[in-house]
């Protein structure tokens, strides 16, 4: 005997293909037309309508409470409301691009320098050329820093959010115990001193660095610059491939890892762990942004107070990095004027001509600003802990570091994404230093061409 359910199912026709297609076709049309209809309903006039704000600002989650406080202070002073949204640092680049691509309007946002020119070219960020006081801001920058914010064509595309230089954090006590009178001044000396410290039994793997895939690109430039190698010419050609010293840099890099002078875990370790390794005395050298000295000291480990800063190299340069603030695409002059006021305050000076925001970042985490005046400002000097040698730091910014202008090119993120794979293959011994040079050059050329995987 058939059940009732079976009988019902035979009496009732199934949802036919035609009916389904009708229903889904309607849905498709609705979905396709929806955004256009919404957009049409919402855009009643031109961009020069009276602007009422608020300013939308997007940043990543480094000290979010501080960001909100600094912006709130500016709002109270200026009378402009600001909506601050914070995203996680990891994946920020992907998240902001997805939002902008999806049509989000963001007036002011943090960005990685390597994305800055791309954002202008995609119409997500606007140039700052015509804004009042912009020339003074650019003139106020270290000469070495200007190429990060000004394109070769002369367009000003960003202002500083913060800046830093790659430096060598070293444990002075360990050096002395190993019979070393001064920190290394070349990559070769770094190898020799690491070996001496390991041989003395002070620590088995003395050298640590943030060699995770996404960050290898910064080290590529840091090490090339340390040996006086120019990575890219003005046209973006990978001229490092033509420099005979380049292969030596990769040999050094591979040797440091393969001989165990850097621990195996550096391919995955985050800076927090590496700072702790220095604080606990498990490492003697740590190359990364200068402000990690604050992290190491704040950890108050048994070796924290013995850790000092030195340039990565004595003769050549190190990499100067800096993340940036960019203005979103907004044609409304009133809005642009308000956003620009916030940008000046957040990325330069407040209304009274003080580096008030940068002073707070210096107090909080030892972050720096790429302005010579910043390092001599009494408030800033007061803000930095005593263990920072500000004149040394200022000198590294001024003459001891380079920004590598190609890093802001629109094609650069494609190259940046590939460097980690190649460098890791080198460190794991899967490719030779010579192959590394060739593969990185290919990656740069391909990034400037049609791209590729």
């Amino acid at each position: 005997m058939r059940s009732n359910a079976t009988q019902r199912s035979q009496r009732l026709p199934a949802l036919g293909r035609r009916a389904f297609l009708k229903a889904s076709g309607g849905g498709l049309l609705l979905a396709a037309a929806g955004p256009a209809l919404l957009s049409a309903c919402g855009s009643g006039g031109g961009s020069q309508e009276a602007w009422e704000g608020p300013i939308s600002m997007l940043g990543w989650d480094f000290q979010p409470d501080m960001i909100k406080q600094l912006v709130a202070d500016w709002s109270a002073e200026s009378g402009h409301e600001v909506d601050v949204a914070i995203l996680p640092n990891v994946g920020y680049s992907a998240a902001i691009q997805t939002r902008l691509r999806g049509g989000d309007k963001i007036d002011l946002f943090y960005n990685f320098a390597y994305n800055s020119r791309k954002f202008v070219e995609e119409g997500w960020a606007s140039t700052l050329n015509d804004l009042p006081g912009i020339d003074d801001l650019v003139a106020d920058l270290f000469e070495s820093s200007r190429e990060r914010h000004v394109t070769p064509e002369g367009d000003i595309i960003s202002v500083p959010y913060f800046s830093a230089v790659h430096t060598l954090h070293y444990n002075e006590r360990m050096l002395q115990e190993a019979g070393l009178s001064a920190p290394p001044t070349t990559l070769q000396e770094t190898y020799e001193q690491s070996k001496a410290i390991a041989d003395a039994g002070l620590v088995s793997s003395p050298y640590v660095a943030y060699w995770v895939k996404e960050f290898c690109e910064e080290y590529l430039h840091t090490y090339l610059l340390a040996e006086g190698i120019t990575a890219f010419d003005d046209d973006g050609n990978p001229v490092f491939a033509d420099d005979p010293k380049t292969e030596g840099v990769f040999e050094w890099w591979q040797t440091m890892y393969r001989e165990g002078l850097a621990p195996a875990s550096v391919l995955n370790d985050d800076p927090g762990k590496l700072s702790n390794e220095m604080a606990q005395g498990n490492a003697a050298f740590f190359v990364l942004h200068h402000y990690f000295l604050t992290s190491i000291r704040d950890l108050a480990g048994p070796e924290s107070e013995n850790v000092l800063l030195a340039p990565v190299t004595a003769q050549n340069h190190t990499l100067q990095i800096g993340e940036v603030l960019q203005m979103g695409a907004n044609d409304n002059e009133e809005a642009r004027a308000a956003i620009w006021e916030l940008m000046k305050y957040y990325g330069w000076k407040d209304g009274e001509g003080r580096y008030s925001v940068f002073t707070e970042w210096a107090k909080a985490a030892g972050l720096a600003a790429p302005y010579p005046g910043f390092f001599t400002d009494p408030d800033v000097v007061e803000a930095f802990p005593d263990y920072y040698d500000l004149s040394q730091l200022s000198q590294i910014f001024d003459t001891g570091s380079k920004v590598v202008p190609a890093r802001t090119s629109a094609w650069y993120p494609d190259f940046q994404a590939k460097v980690g794979d190649v460098v890791h293959a080198l460190l794991l011994g899967e490719i030779t230093p010579k192959d590394t040079v060739a593969q990185l050059a290919d990656a740069a050329t391909s990034a400037q061409g049609s791209g590729g995987l």
Binding site: Q10, P13, S24, G27, Q97, V212, N268
Partner: protein, 313 residues
């Protein structure tokens, strides 16, 4: 009273039935009930899928302002001619094979175990849900710490068991990193498989096993010919889902290794993420997504085919 004759089935041997107003009203009600879900499916699945296919044959500008220039199969040519793709494909297949086999086998074994009578069975069954309730990303972060060479518990466990004689940096070694990402992903998926298998086992009449035991069937024979045969529909569902999950796996791997060291754990989904969201080469990323989608679809269909054909035998 008017009636309408409709064909209830396309099969010639099925008689036509007459449907009255009540049935038509019921039909309309059914369509209305299904419509929201169908619409959601169209909006959330069909439209993005069609757009992805469209993007894959265009050079799409990063800002999404238009589809861009039509380039035919150029993006697919770039993908298929790239050694990075084939290396990633190999990694994806290894990962998927390990993931599918281990999650299915461990899930089944766990379900069989939890179907036995023992003290604390309810608690153990409740524990089974824990891995499944954990988001993939959180799971990846936890396993990353668990596998850490300095502070992770895995080293301590293996050292105690005598498997290793010194602390190891598992995630810095290409082979062990891939192995660990498989294990971490299996840890969660086996729990899901176990839940499904357990629910299937609970519908298995006890008399079947008892009768087989009386007829002299051994444990293995009963498992193979009664338990496994009974679970075959569940097994098919679980395996197909596992195949699809395997190909689409991203979060755990990204949280643990970001595809490293080198390209050791760089499965296709990570390549897609990089192209679509980091480099924003939408055309190329979409071509990769189409390839991966096709792979998951074919993998699922082949699994269904294999399992159903073995059932019919």
């Amino acid at each position: 009273m008017s009636t309408t004759t409709v064909r209830a089935s396309r099969r010639a041997d099925t008689p036509a039935v007459r449907v009255g107003p009540l049935a038509r009203a019921a039909r309309r009600f059914g369509v209305r009930m299904v419509a929201p879900s169908a619409l959601l499916l169209v909006v959330l699945l069909a439209i993005p899928s069609l757009l992805t296919v469209a993007y894959s044959v265009h050079k799409v500008p990063s800002n999404g302002a238009s589809l861009g220039e039509f380039v035919g199969f150029d993006n697919f040519a770039v993908v298929l001619s790239s050694p990075v793709f084939w290396s990633s494909m190999r990694t994806t297949l290894i990962f998927s094979a390990g993931f599918v086999v281990l999650s299915t086998v461990i899930g089944l074994a766990t379900a069989v175990l939890l179907n036995q009578e023992f003290v604390g069975r309810s608690f153990a069954r409740a524990l089974l849900i824990v891995p499944w309730a954990m988001p993939w990303l959180v799971l990846g972060i936890l396993w990353r710490w668990y596998a850490d060479g300095s502070v992770g518990g895995l080293n301590s466990l293996l050292l105690t068991l005598g498997v290793i004689d010194d602390y190891q940096e598992f995630l810095a070694d290409p082979t062990s990193a891939l192995l660990l990402t498989i294990v971490a992903a299996v840890w969660r998926q086996a729990s899901f498989a176990g839940i499904l298998f357990l629910s299937g086992l609970q519908t298995l009449p006890a008399e079947l096993n008892e009768a087989a035991e009386l007829d002299g069937a051994g444990i293995w024979g009963r498992f193979l010919h009664i338990t496994l045969a009974w679970l075959r529909p569940v097994l098919i569902t679980v395996t197909v889902l596992n195949v699809i999950y395997a190909f689409l796996q991203f979060d755990v791997i990204f949280a643990m290794t970001q595809g490293g060291p080198g390209d050791a754990t760089q499965v296709l989904s990570i390549l897609i993420y990089r192209q679509l969201f980091v480099v924003t080469n939408i055309g190329l990323g979409s071509a990769l997504a189409v390839v991966l989608g096709g792979l998951a679809l074919v993998g699922g269909l082949v699994t269904v085919k294999l399992l159903y054909s073995s059932e019919s035998r």
